[in-house]
């Protein structure tokens, strides 16, 4: 019987106590989520987007950093493939999140997997992977309950704050320079990603390339900067690990701890929410 309900529902079966745990775990993040949401809402309206379009974007796209990243592109009417590609690259971190938490979700019916994926933002992923890192269960009502509890708080806080920002954004004079707030919010996503040197080198390369190529049409400079930054980061990483090759055991254990650091730094701590 539970199988039938699970198949018809968009939500996987959940344990109530775990759901409450998930809510409680996400609640302390509400301040950071709200700041992000308000900034994103203000930025959308401030850049010239109409209120109905901004509301539509908030309630469908539900990805703060991608929304902020494409605003300058939409403002100049950039070709849609460039807009989508930019959001795709910014969102690539979610592919890693999905890959590392998939075993808890792959057994679910299709629509439940789609919805769970859709709401699997940075903070929810960070909490979930921290809580169940050592859990042998390949998906359980406890895991799903905890996941949905956190996702619900994240979604409600994010959307409420975004709507507040969209309403407030219309009142803020241009001289306040609120577009800076959008860049600050994006910086809050980048900073924790720069925990290791290859990432710092990649980001520095991307900064230089993007400024140098700012006049290229169709934001080709953006794509060139990403490719250049990734190539440099990978080269620096390879050069770094080649220097440690004399001791493979030590290298492997270092790499494992570096990976778990990455999960913490890309997922946790920073303000990115949706």
């Amino acid at each position: 019987m539970q199988v039938t309900t699970a198949r018809e529902s968009w939500l996987a079966p959940m344990d109530r106590e775990a759901f409450r745990d998930g809510v409680r775990a996400m609640l302390p993040m509400a301040v950071a989520i709200s700041v992000w949401g308000v900034v994103t809402g203000v930025a959308m309206v401030n850049s010239g987007m109409t209120v109905p379009v901004a509301l539509l974007m908030t309630f469908t796209v539900f990805a703060g950093s991608a929304q902020l990243a494409v605003l300058p592109l939409l403002a100049v009417g950039a070709p849609l493939p460039v807009v989508w590609l930019t959001a795709l690259v910014v969102n690539l971190r979610f592919v890693i999140f999905a890959a590392s938490s998939r075993r808890s979700f792959v057994g679910l019916p299709l629509r439940q997997r789609v919805l769970a994926g859709y709401v699997n933002g940075d903070l929810g992923f960070a909490l979930f992977s921290r809580r169940f890192a050592d859990d042998p269960d390949r998906g359980s009502p406890v895991q799903w309950g905890y996941f949905y509890g956190g996702a619900l708080v994240n979604w409600v806080t994010w959307q409420a704050a975004s709507v507040v920002g969209i309403v407030l954004g219309g009142f803020a004079p241009e001289s306040w320079g609120l577009e800076l707030a959008a860049y600050l919010a994006l910086t809050a996503v980048v900073v924790p990603m720069m925990a290791r040197f290859p990432a710092v080198a990649g980001v520095a390369t991307a900064v230089v390339l993007s400024v140098v190529t700012v006049r290229l049409p169709l934001r080709l400079g953006l794509i060139a900067s990403v490719i250049g930054g990734v190539v440099v980061a990978l080269a620096v990483e390879t050069a770094g690990s080649a220097g440690e090759r004399w001791n493979p055991i030590r290298r492997r254990s270092q790499r494992r701890s570096a990976c778990s650091d990455d999960v913490r730094s890309t997922g946790g701590g920073h303000g990115e929410t949706a």
């Binding site: 998939r102 800076l180 400024v211």
Partner: protein, 112 residues
């Protein structure tokens, strides 16, 4: 009447962006169990978002009308650097916004 008022453009853009959200976040929830992320690809994926975001932020803050504008007079640049340092230390969104926007406003009102 900019692109933001072009309904067809905006609705198409938002539709595609929503698809991007679902496709990236649900990606490995939808792929067959045997499909794994090759280590090399994962390494590249790990650096791409930071590079893309940096390549969005930098021209926005460091250039004006297609010209490089790095200097004492670029209040946004100093505010962003200060805010980034605060965030690196505190990991507090509220603190970074307060410092960044506060410094920008002070510079704007005093230095001009």
């Amino acid at each position: 009447m900019g692109p933001f008022h072009d309904w067809v453009y905006m609705v198409a853009a938002i539709g595609g962006l929503t698809a991007v959200t679902v496709l990236t976040r649900a990606s490995f929830f939808l792929l067959p169990a045997g499909v794994e992320l090759p280590e090399r690809v994962e390494r590249a994926l790990r650096y791409a978002p930071a590079c893309a975001l940096a390549a969005i932020i930098a021209p926005g803050v460091l250039t004006r009308q297609g010209e490089v504008a790095i200097g004492w007079g670029n209040h946004q640049m100093w505010a962003l650097l200060a805010a980034a340092l605060v965030f690196a230390r505190t990991r507090s969104m509220l603190a970074m916004m307060t410092v960044g926007m506060g410094l920008f406003t002070v510079l704007r009102l005093t230095v001009g």
